[in-house]
Structures are given as structure tokens and as C-alpha cells.
């Protein structure tokens, strides 16, 4: 619970932004999966800071070390311990936050809950913690690869710039070609300009990441409380700065009629499929074999490089101007994290579904 994600395939993570290391333990990884270290490191590099001009200028090598669970190049079924050392921390950038709560950050709530907090770099609430998710997600992807299941996320909105969000018409091979990870290159360019402009002001902006899971078999999801979309939603809502989740046609279904959005069944090549996919690939909480589609809303980064009013831990009014290296927009680096959480969820429920019958 708490720092463990999943039921059968699980990640238990640890680490703070300015501690010794971040890492975790992956448990329930099926035995006999070949390990592709380059792939794992590449996945991790996708979330690394300093990739380009519009992300934070921090330089962190973020090299993953695997400590257990692999032998002769394959998983053994034993837990996989891993860590990424923190090597480029500028704790002095945070000295002015020791006794001051940053607005809309986790400072105040952590302090209240635990009676103390590691104020350096956001401590446990730092987005740096998502490193563990990327590593575990890479392992999950290696297993899903054997099953032919693929997961692709992309930035579909930043601020007031958005794409026509239909993954069937977008060219997702373009996602990694631009700094904001948007498959519509025109929109991508506008997004980059918006983020650059905000960065120069010290301001930040929110957005939406969309994700499609292809070739997911029918049967994933445990009805009632562990519906597949409930698990995906919990996974996404656990990512830093996320404010909302929807799948299929989501919130827009509030304004639709059943006669418009029911997905009619038909037979195709001897298989039962739906003519449309308003449902987003999940019906009654269980995957139906169609593409699974969902969207995740992110708020603007809370840390502004401009002066903000706040109070200190004694309740005295004060002002705070963050120093250091911060992202003006979290979305580009969050794309691989959305994929990682989705991959872990799919593998977890794939394994759970093995137990539906004897």
C-alpha cells in the first residue's frame, strides 16, 4: 500500500529528490523474459531533464543499476531491485524553502501529516520520484512486447493549443520527433513557442496527455471495484500534477444520448467486434479487445520562477521566489510516465486474468 503499486506485478518505490538515490523493487515480474538493458535505459532517458531547451536545465545522467532478479540475461521470477543515484543535486537552491510553504505544492500537507519534511527539491513529492515508474514500466513493456501489446502516449494539449484528438488519424510515429511529444507537428511548434514564452516569464502551463493501448486482449479488468478503467485511472491520478482522467469519449459523454454512443457489435473475420469505439475499449470494466484510449489532464507546474506570497511554518506572511532549474510544463517528460503506468497496469491485469478460470 502507499508506496506499492499493483496487485500481482508490483512496484514498491523509494527515494527523494535530494537523497542518496531513487529506486524500487519490482515484484511479480514473470520469469523467463529477456532483458534489454538499452531499452530500459532509453525509456528512462525519455523522462530525463535537460533533453532540450524547453525542459529544466538540470543535467542528471540517471543511469539505472539493476541489483537482482536477473540471471543469464533473463528474469528469474525473483524481485528486481534497482536504483538511480542522485548525482547533480543543488540542495542550496532550496535553502529558502526550509521554513516556507510553496503555494500549491506538497510542502504544507507533508509537514502537517508527518510533522516534518525533507524540503530539498520537493523531497518525496518531487517528480524525480517517477524514475522508479519509468524503470518498472520498461520491464512491463518487455513482457507486453512478447504478447504483442503496445502502448503509445502523446501530448494532445498544452494551454490553449490542442490537436484533434483521434489516435487513428494522428501519426504517432512523430511523437518522439519534437520537444513536446505531440504527433501534430504544427501544434507541436505552437506548443513549443508557448512553453518557451512562459519559461522566459517564469510562469508555467498545464495540458493533456492522451494514450492508446493497442492489441490488448479482451478480459482484462476485475468487475465491481477493480474495473480496468478504475485501475488505469488510479494509476494516472497517482502521477504528479494530474487533475483528471477520462477514457473513451469521457466527459463529453455527459452530453450525449445512448442512441448516439452505443457501440454496435458486428462480426468481422469470425470475431465479434464493435463498429465504433466510443467506449474506449472497456465495457463493464473489462477490456473488449478494441483499442483502449484515455486522456489525462495536468495542472501547471506549481513552482514558479516569480515572486509569490505565502506563509512560513509559523504562519507569518512572507514571499518566495523559487530558484534553480524547473520545468515550465510537465507534459513532455510525463508522456513516458503515462506509458509506464499504463504498461504496469496492463501486465498486472493480464496476470490477474489468468485466474478467472481454473
Amino acid at each position: 500500500m502507499r508506496n506499492t503499486f499493483g496487485n500481482i506485478f508490483t512496484l514498491t518505490s523509494f527515494g527523494e529528490s535530494h537523497g542518496e538515490a531513487v529506486g524500487g523493487v519490482i515484484d511479480g515480474m514473470p520469469a523467463g523474459i529477456e532483458i534489454d538493458m538499452d531499452f530500459i535505459q532509453t525509456e528512462l532517458n525519455r523522462r530525463r531533464p535537460g533533453q532540450n531547451a524547453i525542459t529544466t536545465g538540470r543535467k542528471e545522467p540517471d543511469k539505472v543499476e539493476l541489483l537482482s532478479g536477473i540471471f543469464d540475461g533473463k528474469t528469474t521470477g525473483c524481485p528486481i531491485g534497482f536504483l538511480v543515484k542522485n548525482t547533480n543535486q543543488h540542495s542550496e537552491d532550496y535553502e529558502n524553502m526550509r521554513n516556507v510553504f510553496r503555494p500549491s505544492h506538497a510542502d504544507y500537507t507533508y509537514y502537517n501529516k508527518y510533522g516534518a519534511r525533507d524540503y530539498r527539491g520537493g523531497g518525496r513529492s518531487s517528480a524525480r520520484i517517477t524514475i522508479a515508474r519509468c524503470v518498472a514500466g520498461a520491464f512491463a513493456k518487455l513482457a507486453l512486447r512478447k504478447l504483442g501489446i503496445t502502448i503509445s502516449a502523446y501530448t494532445s494539449q498544452i494551454g490553449d493549443i490542442y490537436v484533434r484528438d483521434d489516435y487513428r488519424t494522428l501519426d504517432l510515429s512523430l511523437v518522439e520527433t519534437n520537444a513536446v511529444r505531440c504527433p501534430d507537428l504544427k501544434a507541436a511548434k505552437e506548443m513549443e513557442e508557448l512553453v518557451s514564452k512562459l519559461k522566459s516569464k517564469g510562469d508555467t502551463v498545464g495540458g493533456i496527455i492522451s494514450c492508446v493501448i493497442r492489441n490488448c486482449p479482451s478480459g482484462l479488468g476485475e468487475p465491481e471495484f477493480d474495473k480496468f478503467h478504475a485501475a488505469l485511472g488510479a494509476a494516472m491520478l497517482g502521477i504528479n500534477a494530474v487533475k483528471g482522467f477520462e477514457y473513451g469519449e469521457g466527459f463529453s459523454m455527459a452530453n450525449r444520448y445512448g442512441s448516439e454512443v452505443n457501440d454496435i457489435f458486428m462480426s468481422k473475420n469470425g470475431k465479434t467486434v464493435t463498429q465504433t469505439n466510443h467506449s474506449g475499449g472497456i465495457q463493464g470494466g473489462i477490456s473488449n479487445g478494441s483499442d483502449i484510449f484515455f486522456r489525462v489532464a495536468f495542472k501547471p507546474v506549481a513552482t514558479l520562477l516569480m515572486e509569490q506570497h505565502t506563509v512560513d511554518i509559523s504562519g507569518n506572511p512572507t514571499t518566495l521566489t523559487a530558484k534553480g532549474r524547473h520545468d515550465p510544463c510537465v507534459l513532455p517528460r510525463a508522456v513516458p510516465i503515462v506509458e509506464a503506468m499504463a504498461a504496469m497496469t496492463v501486465l498486472d491485469f493480464y496476470l490477474l486474468n489468468k485466474c478467472a478460470k481454473l
Copy 2:
């Protein structure tokens, strides 16, 4: 897992629409809480079908029987078994669905996952199953009442009719005065008319339910994977027909700047509070003492009283016209379910939070 909700305060539910009974086991209910049977039954009555002209015409008394866990009018700390008998089932209404998959329903996915299904009334995927949630939610509310925490949900949108969704300006005491449970009486009237019109056509419509939790103490939520809003989101996404969840300003934050939506801290009567509440009462995954606000999107009910194309279990094309008594819009009866799931989540995390310090 699966049919169990919660960590410390848990509900394990059972039952199908046309089986003997629906019910469950509430575990982790704190000892020594006085039981108010009238309150529990009243909560259950709020979701009962046949309350008025625009809900299903089914008449189900839905009388809850408590089987254990209570002694001398108080909870004992032991599990509370309960059931509600199914007494007015018209299984013959579903005979034509025995071998046919209803579009956008759980028929196909259950059949695929388990190799068989109870087709009568939707079986386990029926909204009738939410009875167990209402009962457990009522118990949770009895505990929260002692802590002064209140939970109020209301319909904020049906189809294209919506209220200006600010719980601070809406008069939530009006929610129970109209058939759609909307606190804006003008909008309520329009919603009722819309639903009536669709009912007469055999069509259905979606909508949004909003919910506010007041007087929730700071500290609820376990950072990283069990963030408080992730738990609330999973709880809501587990409700039948839900397609999306957002908290605070949710999806609209995608198009905002940090300088607009950060909640500035100030000191008020010796307490640290925020000047605004864009965050929705949760920061870094932990409640901050402000009102908690979230919204839940529902799709239109999948069962239409009009002919639809579909296939049977052999893949042959066919048509299906649902018979029987169905809701044209799930929202009015889902309002108490949203409250119930929220109440269970708040109590569960209140108890978990006791363990943050020795």
C-alpha cells in the same frame, strides 16, 4: 481485491440483479459507533428505483437486513454482514438476451472473460449491485458524523443542461427537493423535461455529478500511489457508467497558467489556509483542510428501449429491443452512490492516517 473496496475500512460485496440477494461484508468499522437504522435505510431509499416519474418503474422495497457486528445498538469492531433480498425480479424480461450481447453493456466482456454469464438483468454488472455500496457508505457516514465531516453530491449536468458548478454559491439543501437531485431549481426543471422526453423515446442521456467534502481534516492521503485523489478517482471510476473523474479545477487546468491557479497561503485565525481553492482541497496527494471538490462524468445508460443491431454469441447478426423497466438517465440515483463511495474513502484514509506517526 476485485470485490473488496478499501484498505482498513473495507466493503466486500456480492450479488447479481436476479439472484437471491445482494449484500456484503463491512470490515474495519470502528467499534463503539451508534447505529441509526433509519438513517441507513433512508440512504438506501435514495438509490431505490421507482422514486418518481423519471426513474425506472421497478418497485423494489430494498429493505436492508443487518446480520452481525452490532450489539446493544453499537458497532463491536467485528465485520458487519448485510443483505437486501431481490424480491421483484422479472427475469422473463431478459429471456431474449440469453444469447445476445447488448451493445455497450458488459454482456460480451463477461462472457469472454468467464466463459458464461448470468444474463438476467445484467447479472453482476447490474447497477442493482450498488445497493451494497449505499449500505457501507451509510455506515461510513455514521462514523464521519462523529468527526463532523459531511459529504454532499448533486447533479450538475444532464445532457446539454448544466449549472454554474460552484458548490459555494449553490444551495445544496435543495438537492433532495427534485427528481434529478440538482440544486439549481431552474436547471432541475429543464433536466427533468429532457429526461422525460428521452424516456418517451426509449433513449437515454449522460451527465455529471459533483461532490463536496466539507470539514475534512488535513493529512488524508498516502503520497506516491495512494494519493487521496487517486483513491477518490478509483472509487468513482468503479461506479457503473462512469467515464471520467476530475478534482479541483480538473480538466480546465490544462488551459491555465501557474500564476493563475496556484493557491496562495495566508494565515487566518491562527491557521494556515489558502486564499483560493483551485486545487480542490488536495495538494501533493494529501488533503489540506480545505473543501474537497470533484466531478464525475457518466455516459448514457446503455440499455435502450428501441431496436439496436448486434450479434449473438455465435456471431450472427441480430437485433435486440430491451424490454422491462430501465432508467433513461442514471444520474439522479447515482448521487447517493457517489456520496457513499466518497464516505468510504474518507473514513478509510482517516484510519490509515492514524498510522503516519507512532
Copy 3:
């Protein structure tokens, strides 16, 4: 947790001795298993009081009602709610225990933990609660039957009378032929005489139940914390009055050399097997395909029909003589409960083991 047993195949139970009913919810039962109601009721009858002269004289019909999860005679993969009504409770027998703690019973600890207790018939701590285990165990046995796995428990010791405890030489078909469920008929007769003698005095006696699981496949058990024998041990130690658990040669191995008790591998009909089975069928926490053997020690029943010194809830010294109908020895009726807990554990770990590989 607490009132839920198992990981994938789970039982969540409820009920007190003198409440409305005892029962539970079985979750994770694989779909498609044929239900044999006679078998389930027969399993329940094996633990029923009043079977013969040496058990309690209580007459309880203990008829199980299944409420969900079954359709067309087969399990559907949905949770199975069930209950057994309490129909023959003599609560007045317990009136003198309202404010008095019975020695070596759960009265004092429940009172201390929860601030109150249902004193009638032991409340939640009554052995009557094991009804739920027998029902769930019967379902597990129906699944194991399809896998060819059998579970046989028997009384191997009562007081100072014991059998030579080798399940390979004992004739386990004799277990159900006598009142103490001992497969050695000479020992059985002596045990019956001992129990009868103690019953006439109002005294009680302990004993040992042994159990063998045959045809259990290799691979069950999750190394490190969920070793197969750790799960079996926890299951057995959760049964009322149990004081100890050992598997294979158990405690006697403390006084043995490695050269004496290592199980040497050999090849037999193309399969790797062990020449001996000192290990009890489990090595490194994982079943090895041999017979699994374990023993469970029970203390004498705490309720004596003789005067005992004690204190009341105010700490005043007093005496207490139990009234009513009590077992002088719990073992004969505990044999089916040991089997039930073993069956649940085996099925649970059989399902878990499906996830070891993709």
C-alpha cells in the same frame, strides 16, 4: 485483512455465535466449476455440533444458503455470498458472563481492544464462526477435485493417547467411522473413552490433528514471505484453540542431523522425486510434488463446566461456572476445518502460481 483470508481465492467472513447468521463472501472462485450442493452441505455437517455423544448437545441444523455467484449450476466467476442462520441459540446460558471474563477465553482481550463485546456464546470468537470456513473450503475442494488434489485430515492425538503418525500406513478411509475421527480404531476407542470421562467431569482436553495433501503439483508457494508452509501455518494458526503448527518432521527435526533427514533425489518413471519425504512435500517454501504433511496442536477447550475463579469487568474477584452445551474436546469437529483451510490455501496458491510465468 482481518476478516479476509487468501490472496486470489478469498473468504471474507462475518457473524457471531448469537447474532442473526454467520456467513461470508467467497471471491476469486474460478468460473465454470460445477456446484455440488450435497457435497457442500455434507462438509458443513461434518463440523455440526450434536453429531454424537461426545460432542456438544446443541442441535443446530446449519443449513447453508447460497445467495450469488452461481448460474445454471456452475460458478460464474462472481463472488459467492452465503449464510447459515443461527436458529437454536440459548443466549440466556450466557447471562452470567455479561460482566465476567472467562479464563483463557477471548472475553478480556476483545473487551480491551474494542471497549465492548458481544458476550453471548463467545460472540465473534465462538467456534461457530468456522462455519464460513467449511463452506468456503467445500468450494475450494470442488475446484481441487477437478485438479485431482485431495486433502485428508484426522485426529492423531487426544490427551495422552496418540497414533503412530504415518499417513502412509494409516487407513484414512476409517476417519469418518468413529466419533473422534481417528483412523486407528483402537486409539479411537480409547480417545472416545477419555473424552467421555472428561465430559462427565466438566473438564476438557487438547490434541493434535494431522493432515495430508495428495497429488499437489510442484510449484505452489511464493518464496521469501509467502512460503507455502508459512501460508498453511497461518491458515491453521487462525483456527480457534490452535497452539502450534509443524510440517514434515517438524519439531523433531531440531534433534536430527542433515545426513539423516535430507531427502535424496532420484529419477522414477522419468520424473524427479525424492526417496524419502522428511521435508513434508515443501522445499524452499515451494511444493515439490510429494505428499504435503503437517500437524496442528490444539489446546483444551477453555470453557469448563466447573467452577473457576476469575474477575469481572470492574476487576472484582468472582467465580464462574459455565452453563450450556460445550464440547469437551474440539478436535473431532476441527478435522473438517483443518481440511477446509488447507483446501483454500492450496487453491489460492495454485492460482497465484499461474502468474509465475507469462
Copy 4:
């Protein structure tokens, strides 16, 4: 599950004998506990090999590195990642075991379950893995110290040499004064001689470790399935080489009468206590405030430095003589592990018990 222990206070461990490192993540450690690094390392040193003539000759520094969860010398409530590097592994000692199953070891069952295994030094089934338990146990002890709860284990039997096992008359301050960790110095000397003799032969021997928990408050334990002794039992049975667990008078209660072993209540200094403690401090699954006492049986170490018959992975008969550095008797080094598992269990249930009332 599987590689995670506990409910609220949890350890998730990783590592193999000859991998990079062993370690784990401690979650649920209460915030604000002062960290005593010397104490933690000392606890770890107690299980270290090469402490004296009768343990394995391996020299492993086993220095613990804490990676997170601590700030300003205190726990923060965040997970504590830690590791101990493997620095002195002689993998070549195990080359002859690559394709051969050691008798009564985990080689065969791991191979069967996972389709492969890390054969070097026992891989995940090595006792080296218990390092993670010692570290987590040390953290638990630091929390229990604040509550005044102490845990003391000791060797009470090795082979046919045993002490009169009454912790009230034994002088437990002598445990750390001798190589076998036995508080009876005469028995200790005989045990050392026995182990030395067996070591010279390449043989091994089993034994019993006893443990007392003092000053444990009443109320720990969740009735029904998570009885306190069931949790302690599962914890102990998860330790390598354990074959049995008993608490209070354990297996000897099989041969006792209720009139002999019931613990009579009395009032003492205004508190309700028992005159005797046959129960071992737990009644109805809940601690009663008396000393908690239990015993754990260990089999002889399976690895013998003498030739044994076995088969290889193709089923061909062969012989195997282990090389390298092995303990002839696991008990002396298992004493701190028994304490560690007990400490984790006590802290976990202490935290759970906070939720019994609102």
C-alpha cells in the same frame, strides 16, 4: 505479496546471494523516529557470517547503506530504501551445482516453478537474503523502543542438548556472551562442542529458538484470520529452514486438561492480569498484556560438506559434494532474525490496532 511482509509497516525485499546486492524498502515506518545507525549496523552484525569458529568462515562486511526516508536524523514517514552490497562472493564454489539439485534445498522447486534459477549460492533462497529482515527489524525495534516493548530471542535447543525453557528463570543477558546464543552457559558449551564436532564431519544439526516479547500492550491482533499468533507464526515460518512454530505451551497442550492450563484472572495493582501464562500472552488471537512467548523449530542445514546422491536437471543420477563455506547449524545466526521478524510483526499490529476505534 510474495516479497512484501506486513500490512501497515512493511518490508519489500530483493536480492540473491551472488547478485549485486541485497536490500529492500521499508514502508509505513512512523515519522519522527530518531535513527541510531550504530544500533542498526550492530543488529546486522549479529547475523553476519564468520563471527566465530562454529559459523561459516565467510567474511562479509555487510555494511548497510540507507538511501531514503531519513532527514535530519529522523524518519520522515517516507519509504526507506536500503542495500547491502555483496562483496565476497565465491561463485566458483557453486559451479558444480549449475545443473544438479542439492537434496532438501530449494534448487529443484525453483527450477520447476520458474523454469530457471540462479544456482550461485542458493540465489534467492539463500539465507543471505535475511539481511533485509535484520535491517527492517532494527527499524521496527527503534520504534518499539519508544513504546518500551522489548524482544529477546535465544537458542534453547541444538540437537539433543536443550535448556529448561522458562524465560523467567533463564538469564537472557547471557545470550550474547557465547557463540550459540544460549542463555544457559553449561548447555551453551555442550552445544558449541556438538556443532564443532559436526562441522568437522561436514554434517549439520537442527534446533529450537525461543523468543519472549515483554511489555507488549493488550489489543494487538486482528481476530479471525489475522490473529496475533497467526501473524507471528507466518513470520517465523517464512525464515529459512523453519519447520514448526508454537506459542505459549504449544504442542505440549495437546496432552493437558483445561482445568490444568486455563489462565485464571486476578486483580493486581488495579489491573486485570492472569495468575499463570500458559497461553503465552495471547488469547482469542489478541495480546492480553502478559509476556508473549513462542518457539521456532529449525531443521539441519541442507548443505552438507559430504558426498550425497542426487540427480541433475536431466534426471540422471549423480553425486554432489558441496564446496565452500557453510554453517553447520543455522541457529546462532537465526536468533537476530527471529527477533527482527517479531519486531516487525509487533509494530505492524500496534499500528493496525490504532484503527480499532475511531
